[in-house]
């Protein structure tokens, strides 16, 4: 419903030639020229995160289909969004996280997928087939998923820190806590600790979390830029808010580390495969997405990147050390209480940012 509404509003604006006075810096003409095949039919431009593909996957695809994949890398969703926002510079397949799928769909930046060209969709575990952020998988196929919880050093904590309390609202681990600097995650998980849903927060809720964070700030060592696993591994902090996949990686180096999803629930993210508007080779893009969802290919990717896979067929082929890893595939009350984050519009995002700016300056 929401998609339709905002798309209509945009198309009305577009119809009026962006009604308002002055300038507009979009390249609308650019994003219309999506076609099949195109000039160089055996090429594909893939925009992906670093170290986020199997070692031989791209070569295997070239062998199987004759299509050469040219991969470019981005480091954050914001970077990817900023690059595509002014018009697609020629990418055929992109890997945004779930909230950006929603954001890009709302901004009319994605092409609907043709499910008949992706038969390997059958490999995806059923719980990933109809997420709130993309009902019916209209625009995106799940590639990996991950969840924010607490990584900790077993020898330095009194007991398993299975509540957000130990990060958000306690001086027990004073000076040994690292939290994420990302405003939306910080506010929403704080709200979760206070018994609210991650979705649909009001300004009063945001202010309440902000005040709690201002109280907690003297106990916090730092707000990290998604390098919490390094801070934990190096002994700078003993308890850190971080993604399960990141903690799983450093746990291989240090057996004293562990990960738990607090009982209030964590925040689930999913990275997905989408075709942006203006993609020059839509046919190849579908072929490539279908290839990545293949069981053997998925297995090879999981072996390299060690992130949880939503691909049931690929997971079944993986060794037990991955399948039964409680950090890669967490279960229990915390996991059951976890939710997907949603993109709730620029106003909410701005409110999150301002609250965190205020908190950091307080």
């Amino acid at each position: 419903m929401q998609f339709e509404k905002s798309r209509n509003r945009r198309s009305v604006l577009a119809g009026l030639g962006v009604a308002a006075i002055g300038l507009s810096f979009t390249t609308a003409g650019c994003s219309e020229k999506s076609g099949d095949g195109g000039g160089d039919a055996n090429k594909l431009n893939f925009y992906n995160w670093d170290t986020y593909i199997g070692e031989t996957t791209l070569a295997d695809f070239a062998k199987a289909s004759g299509v050469q994949v040219n991969m470019s890398l981005f480091a954050t969703n914001d970077e990817m969004f900023a690059k595509l926002k002014a018009g697609n510079p020629g990418f055929d397949v992109v890997v945004p996280s779930n909230e950006f799928v929603e954001r890009m769909a709302k901004a009319d930046m994605l092409l609907p997928l043709d499910h008949s060209k992706i038969p390997n969709m059958k490999n995806i575990a059923p719980e990933f087939l109809n997420p709130d952020y993309d009902p019916g998988r209209k625009y995106s196929m799940p590639y990996t998923w991950l969840v924010i919880g607490i990584g900790y050093r077993k020898s330095k904590v009194a007991a398993t820190p299975d509540s957000w309390k130990w990060v958000y609202d306690s001086d027990l681990y004073k000076g040994r806590i690292a939290m994420m600097s990302e405003a939306a995650d910080l506010i929403r998980l704080g709200a979760r600790y206070l018994g609210k849903s991650l979705v649909g927060l009001q300004q009063a809720d945001i202010d309440q979390v902000r005040d709690m964070l201002i109280r907690q700030k003297p106990n916090v060592k730092t707000f990290h830029e998604d390098n919490g696993q390094d801070l934990l591994l190096s002994g700078d902090v003993d308890i850190v808010m971080e993604y399960n996949g990141d903690i799983a990686q450093v746990m291989q180096e240090d057996p004293d580390l562990d990960f738990v999803i607090p009982k209030e629930g964590g925040l689930i993210n999913s990275d997905t495969l989408v075709i942006p508007k203006g993609a020059p080779r839509v046919e190849n893009a579908h072929k490539f997405i279908n290839f990545l969802l293949d069981a053997e290919v998925g297995k090879h990717i999981s072996e390299t990147i060690l992130y949880p896979t939503p691909n049931a067929a690929a997971k079944a082929l993986m060794p037990a050390s991955y399948r039964d890893n409680p950090v890669v595939f967490p279960s229990g009350p915390g996991m059951d209480a976890s939710e997907y984050g949603r993109f709730e519009g620029p106003e909410t995002q701005a409110a999150f940012e301002e609250a965190i700016t205020k908190m950091r300056a307080a």
Partner: protein
């Protein structure tokens, strides 16, 4: 001069001035103008910015919250500049008085850090300062050696990283060459006989320094202060990586507007506030220099 010659000279002028001028306009002034236009705009939908001529972004940038952050950043940058000046002046002076061979090497040493990316240098500082970093590691080693002689409390690592002192240290480390090089350039032109005369006439070393060297080197000192202060004011990597929960500077806020917050108009207004401030400082420097010249 004949008309021919003048025309030729004009051609030479255009040929030498043309490319840099083209570069400056296309890759600097035009993008800057676009961002300036953004600062009077507002978000229209998720991807478009409408330039509506509003001053709302500037009004928001002048709220106490953001002014406070700006004041804190000015304080940090000012302190950085002061420390750089105090540390950099003797270094520049020493390089000036070194013999020619040593001079080349010393200047090379000052410039060497520029050959390494800022991000890598910052991560190197993290490795030095962290709880189990090189400094704490060395201190612990020495402490334990002493502990085998006298009985001492167990070693408690120093908190060197993730606080404002770490940010200050990082900023000084990064910006020291910006101070030393203009100071050196000014001091190197100094007429040595003036110093000799001052010393011959009975002034002490300190007095000679303050009454002869400093006034003559003042233009160099001023430009050193300026080109240290301005980039320090806009630093965002250092507070992000070395800082703690209280180390937010204005550039961190600006960065977030362009990335996570996706509020380019407000980010543009904050950037231009910083730019206006820089213009004022440059004007101030020019004024001071003119007064000194008179």
């Amino acid at each position: 001069m004949s008309d021919e010659g003048w025309r030729q000279e004009r051609g030479t002028l255009a040929a030498t001035l043309g490319p840099p001028l083209f570069w400056l306009v296309v890759f600097f002034l035009v993008p800057l103008a676009v961002v300036w236009a953004y600062s009077f705009g507002q978000n229209a939908g998720l991807t478009d910015i409408r330039i509506s001529g509003t001053f709302a972004n500037y009004a928001r940038a002048l709220e106490p919250l953001y002014l406070g952050i700006l004041a804190k950043s000015i304080g940090m940058a000012g302190l950085t500049t002061l420390i750089c000046l105090i540390v950099g002046f003797p270094v520049a002076l020493a390089i000036t008085f070194a013999d020619d061979r040593a001079k080349t090497w010393l200047l090379l040493l000052v410039m060497l850090p520029f050959w390494t990316n800022l991000l890598i240098r910052t991560y190197a500082l993290i490795a030095v300062l962290r709880t189990e970093g090189y400094v704490n590691w060395t201190l612990e080693f020495l402490w334990n050696r002493l502990g085998s002689i006298w009985s001492l409390e167990p070693f408690v690592p120093l908190d060197l990283l993730h606080n404002n002192a770490a940010v200050l240290f990082g900023l000084v480390y990064v910006h020291l060459p910006f101070m030393i090089l203009p100071l050196y350039a000014a001091l190197d032109r100094l007429d040595r006989s003036l110093i000799e005369a001052s010393l011959d006439l009975g002034a002490g070393h300190f007095r000679t320094m303050m009454q002869i060297v400093v006034p003559i080197a003042l233009p160099g000192i001023l430009s050193g202060i300026l080109i240290t202060f301005i980039p320090a004011l806009g630093a965002y990597l250092t507070p992000d990586l070395l800082g703690g929960p209280d180390s937010q500077m204005i550039a961190n806020v600006i960065e977030r507007q362009f990335k996570r917050a996706n509020d380019w108009p407000f980010g543009a207004a904050l950037s231009f506030l910083l730019l206006y401030l820089t213009f004022i400082l440059i004007a101030l420097q020019a004024m001071l220099q003119r007064r000194q010249a008179q």
